[in-house]
Symmetry: C2
Subunit: 534 residues, 2 copies
């Protein structure tokens, strides 16, 4: 039985209740120091919850002997598979109100075992929740409801190998359960990389990225994992199949695009041929400061509409820049990065900085040369980026309500959208909590026709009501997004938390189509019930 709390390739323990590695969590003193930054938080952190205190009962179903070696009812494994890593998951754990704990956790090692587990679950009305790294922040990996006899968390991380590498076509066949570092380690000896680096990189899997259309490394052009898919293998209760490895095709609607974003509701993605890249040899980055956020938006739009194609083009508003240590003077900061395996990128960086200058941007500090480390603003921002989920959990322990949400909209709507989120979500948070909230914004990905704003909200909770407070704040945010016809999610997925927004956004013919596909591929509705559809 694979250990469920220790990462493959490391000996570090994963936290069952919070983000990432348990040994990377801020200690109580750090939590208190962080909490002091937000007036109204608790005086001391909530205690770290213990699995022994959870209401973990006897499993309501047992697999047949032929599958028993793949399945565990161990309380630690079940607790670690009960929820994702949203703020509302963390606070539910801290408050002793976790989501429904699955009855069983399975660790299949190949397609046959996945199919056998599905067959058993299908015959016994057992809900199957596919589980990769468990980093969902939208309620994507938990069970809600009571229509099933039992709940099985299907953990795919024992299927974590790169099975084939085709260096000529620069592509690899990779099992869906490989975590980011695990798959990159297997590609590195060939000088190749998938170069998909979401914030959750260490704690999410290829299959999770595919099933949720994750957003990765690139700020422009190929932003989502979708574009790097050459072929998918999918196992459904109605049968399995693999699309052909093709660089492109015009043969009917794309079969892969129907399963990308299907969030485990239509089938289990067990492996994929992915398009790889050479590791970049040329890098250059810079940061540009703006005193006027709207001029900064214009600058980013101009760069996004050029053909410069920066790898990184993230605009931090003054609050976000302050929070991440990128700027302390009230400036908005544009973090620009260029990368290439082929040729130097200094000219492209210089051109982008020039475009920013025409919109009153000022380059910060000295220009980093082609192969030098990123400039210090960029480094500061990157460290903060990876550390942020840990800090969120620390603030959660201090009773704060700290969460993020993201969207995307066309450029014509972006300024009013950001304004309305700030004012209306701010007003709602004040009304709900009685305290002013912090609402920061950054653009994480940009396109010729629009951008993806990413918001961070930090408010003061009322002890015990944190989930309800966040849900009320988020409902207002979702209303603003809907009014502007901004997507309910750019790359966090729908899961269960975004269902109301998604149901309003989905065009009616596609709703009919999706329901029909669900009925055809998962007629007994055992697959991740409640995501995407009822």
């Amino acid at each position: 039985m694979p250990a469920t709390s220790t990462d493959p390739g490391t000996s570090r323990n994963r936290s069952w209740w919070g983000w990432g590695y348990a040994d990377a969590h801020p200690d109580d003193a750090e939590c208190a120091a962080l909490g002091a930054l937000l007036p109204g938080t608790l005086n001391r952190p909530l205690p770290i919850p213990r699995i022994a205190d959870l209401p973990i009962g006897k499993p309501a179903a047992a697999p047949p002997p032929s599958l028993a070696h793949l399945v565990t009812a161990d309380p630690q494994a079940r607790a670690a598979h009960a929820m994702g890593k949203a703020y509302r998951d963390v606070i539910r754990a801290l408050r002793g109100r976790p989501g429904r704990i699955p009855d069983l956790v399975a660790h299949p090692t190949d397609d046959r075992e996945v199919a056998d587990l599905l067959d058993w679950a299908d015959a016994h009305n057992v809900a199957v929740i596919p589980f990769g790294g468990g980093s969902s922040v939208v309620g994507g990996v938990e069970y809600r409801g009571n229509a099933h006899r039992a709940v099985l968390s299907l953990d795919l991380t024992s299927m974590d190998r790169v099975l084939e590498i085709d260096t000529t076509s620069r592509s690899a066949r990779i099992q869906a359960g490989a975590l980011g570092p695990v798959l990159e380690a297997q590609l590195r000896p060939q000088g190749l990389t998938l170069r998909h680096f979401p914030q959750s990189f260490e704690f999410s899997t290829l299959g999770g990225w595919l099933a949720t259309r994750a957003g990765g490394h690139y700020a422009t052009v190929h932003t989502h994992i979708d574009d790097f898919v050459q072929s998918l293998r999918v196992i459904t209760p109605a049968g399995a199949g693999t699309s052909w490895r093709l660089p492109a095709s015009g043969a009917g609607p794309s079969p892969d695009r129907l399963f990308l974003g299907s969030e485990g509701a239509l089938g289990i993605i067990t492996e994929a041929w992915m398009r790889l890249q050479e590791r970049p040899r040329h890098k250059a980055s810079a940061s540009v400061a703006f005193t006027d956020f709207h001029r900064a938006l214009d600058a980013v739009r101009t760069i996004a509409q050029s053909d410069l194609a920066p790898a990184n083009c993230r605009l931090l508003d003054p609050g976000e820049a302050l929070f991440s240590g990128a700027s302390y003077d009230g400036s908005a900061i544009l973090v620009l990065g260029f990368e290439s395996a082929t040729s130097p990128v200094d000219d492209r960086l210089a051109n982008a900085v020039d475009l920013a200058r025409t919109h009153s941007g000022h380059r910060r500090r000295g220009m980093a040369d082609g192969n030098a480390p990123a400039d210090s603003t960029v480094s500061a921002w990157r460290s903060a980026f990876l550390r942020m989920p840990y800090l969120r959990d620390a603030l959660a322990r201090m009773g704060a309500v700290v969460e993020t949400f993201e969207t995307a909209a066309t450029w014509d709507k972006i300024p009013a959208l950001i304004h309305d989120v700030r004012t209306e979500v701010g007003a709602a948070a004040f009304k709900i909590t009685g305290h002013p909230a912090i609402i920061n914004c950054r653009l994480t990905h940009v396109y010729p026709d629009g951008a993806a704003p990413y918001f961070t909200v930090a408010a003061v909770g009322r002890p015990g009501d944190e989930v309800e407070i966040w849900d009320d704040i988020k409902a207002v945010a979702s209303e603003v997004l809907h009014r502007h016809r901004a997507t309910i999610t750019h790359h966090h997925a729908v899961g269960r938390d975004h269902r109301p927004g998604y149901d309003l956004q989905r065009p009616e013919p596609f709703t009919l189509a999706l329901r029909a596909v669900k009925d055809a591929l998962d007629p007994h509705r055992i697959l991740n019930p409640g995501v995407l559809l009822d």
Copy 2:
């Protein structure tokens, strides 16, 4: 009633039986001169067929008075909507054996009229064949079978306006029936362009491009129309809907991608918000000659795997280069083109030529500077490219069997695939016709992980048996593609002609899904019956 044989915006008559404009067809003397290049062809061209000779009967259904003004039973209109423009369509017209002539042709002018026509057809078992420019080369716009009471060709070209332009987000809402030149003319005053230029540009519509996932201008990165879609409006017998205008989204599977490539079988695309670009200000092109085709393949792969992103990167094998006037010395020719609205492209061109040189490529003639007209090899190839379908029809009139097909595969398969198509299709053509056939190949689009080879076959027919000869040759070609797991089509679509190959290629879960969607959106199966599915 709109004229059916005269193009909007021009006074030129479209040919009902062959490619393009009637006045652009080679005359009898030119046909004879062309035919003389291929030993074994006829001494004089087959006569141009006359509509008066066609078996056009009384329509088997009549619309209600409320729709009568949208519908015609005029023989000329019905003949012009009976088939697409494949070789087998042209020869069927020339031999007086056209496909089933539709009973009626409708020209709706708005969504309401499209929905009303669908309602009527749905209630009366009338098959509806959506028709844009009618340039299908895969049997996509004709009716086969006899399960329906009547056949209605739904011509969308009266819906040809650009309804809105959003210059900030560089996008436009465009009606699906706009032909390429018609929509570009409406975008030009804003300095914007869709920049989608398939070979059929003059004779195909936005809706046709979307429904068939057309391949356009770019040889790299964004090759298909798919990537330029921001939002689609679709009308189905089960209801209508419009996806939100989004630059990107991670909310469930992409709703638009299910209708892109649906070939009119799932719904009628009536309009789309499309991503536009500024018109390029910087252009540079060059041609590079190779004495060894395999070295040329390596050169193209190296360029495709760089980040140079040429707009044009077409490799012509020696026969193709000869046929198009690009080379007479047995060289393979790589046509390279770079374009940008932002910055000069000479460096990128020079870098690409350098990469080609490392694979023994030799640049032809002088280097064209940034804004100069393309070099003469490039010009020769471009003219030949646009003229080619007319020449095909001329050769058809001389009794030759001349047709093309295209595919895509990963790089590891490309050399053997091209070799096997050449040898096995060549052997089959010889066996079938008793004469050697010409089989040329070019790469039209290239990717980091593969390429799209495009084959031209010219063989000698037996008078009256041309369709069967071509079908037999094509069956062998399709077998070779299938054996190599190369797609049955890169950008020509499936239609009816590619159904056997498509049925083998489609992964089983997607087959189940597609059938379920068809049942949900088109329960009485009136929409383009026979494409994609039975």
